[in-house]
């Protein structure tokens, strides 16, 4: 099941050139672009690992593509996303976020039912990948 989070996730995977154009859009608006990766695909996982610092002072998006490719080399089997932060409001608000790298096979999510007091049922989802320990979730 292809993970659909963030922008462009219903489009075919972005090429390096697509990434460059999108990142350039962010840079031209003064947003800081950063690269993050994780192997926990849960939609509520807001703690992705940072790949280096956000790029505050790179005028050209080639640097973003460069970092994405460096990240792919080191964490090729994980999810990688590109974020754009806007600091103009006084706090860092995410303006853009899109996935640029994903594992070869994505097992998807299962529905978890938990029996609660009075036969109430609580529902949640869990990625099949999460059954494996961190670092062993994707080939």
């Amino acid at each position: 099941m292809k993970l659909r989070q963030g922008q462009f996730s219903f489009l075919p995977d972005l090429t390096d050139d697509d990434i460059r154009v999108q990142a350039q859009y962010a840079i031209d608006r003064g947003w800081a672009v950063s690269v993050e990766y994780t192997d926990d695909p849960h939609p509520r996982n807001s703690y992705w690992e940072m790949w280096g610092h956000p790029m505050f002072d790179t005028p050209d998006a080639a640097a973003v593509v460069f970092e994405v490719n460096e990240c792919r080399k080191a964490h090729g089997g994980k999810y990688i996303r590109v974020l754009a932060f806007d600091a103009s409001a006084g706090w860092e608000s995410i303006r853009m976020s899109f996935i640029v790298g994903r594992p070869l096979s994505e097992p998807g999510f299962r529905l978890v039912r938990q029996e609660d007091d009075g036969r109430r049922i609580r529902y949640t989802i869990e990625s099949y990948a999460m059954r494996e320990p961190e670092g062993a979730r994707y080939a």
Binding site: G52, D57, T58, P59, D60, A62, A63, F66
Partner: protein, 308 residues
Amino acid sequence: MNAEIQLPATVDLARSYAESGVADVLRELDEQLIGLAPVKQRIRETAALLIVDKARREMGLATGAPTLHMSFTGNPGTGKTTVALKIADLLHRLGYVRKGHLVTVTRDDLVGQYIGHTAPKTKDVLKKAMGGVLFIDEAYYLYRPENERDYGQEAIEILLQVMENNRDDLVVVLAGYGDRMDRFFQSNPGFRSRIAHHIEFPDYTDPELGRICEIMLSDQNYVFDDAGRRAMSEYIGKRRLQPHFANARSIRNALDRARLRQANRLFSTATGPLDAAALSTITEADIRPSRVFAGGLDVDRATKETSA
């Protein structure tokens, strides 16, 4: 409808020259930089090559991006940084770099102090320079053969790798004194082969320095009087023979000191109100007191005497 992209049958080089705005950059180069005839010639040739290459690419003849990395060799103060700025502008107008900004760095910006510190530092600089031109001043300091654990080698390796793999993204210009750059290239053959354009910057002649001097002054709204101009040209001739002569940079420093003396002179001698002409005239009295006329700096004289 024909879905295939139609390649143009002919190209008009004169038009693409005019449209790219390269002429403006070359004219600026001619107007703003005194002398440097061989450098201007090389830049004009390079521009012609790039325009033809661009036209070839439009017609589907050329393959891949040309190697644009350059090395500028020459004595201090011969305008290497200024020319690098113009080159960045030129490449931007021709579409070879996307942003056309110039990032000037030295060894300190690339090489870290401890293990593992160099790679991120170098990569940061490279990322900043992407889409523009990276100008590495005194590049030979990167390589220190006397210290085999020096981290400069690591920076060189990353630099070479990015110069090769990200050729479309950035242009690297290495600059430094001629003889030391030659030795640097000898010990790092990887650099020599990745650099297509070696441009040598000649020293300025005395009349050229005189003209540079006038331009610098008029930029700051100062003028020489006749005696002052004569004193300055004498100064240039004498300064050249003394150690640490740095062409235009020496002239700029001399002018700064002349302005200081002029301010002091006005302050101590003026009795009544001064007009604009008095405030902006550099006279003989502001230049003659220079130590250059007395035979150089005290420290230099001292070393000369002990060695004699």
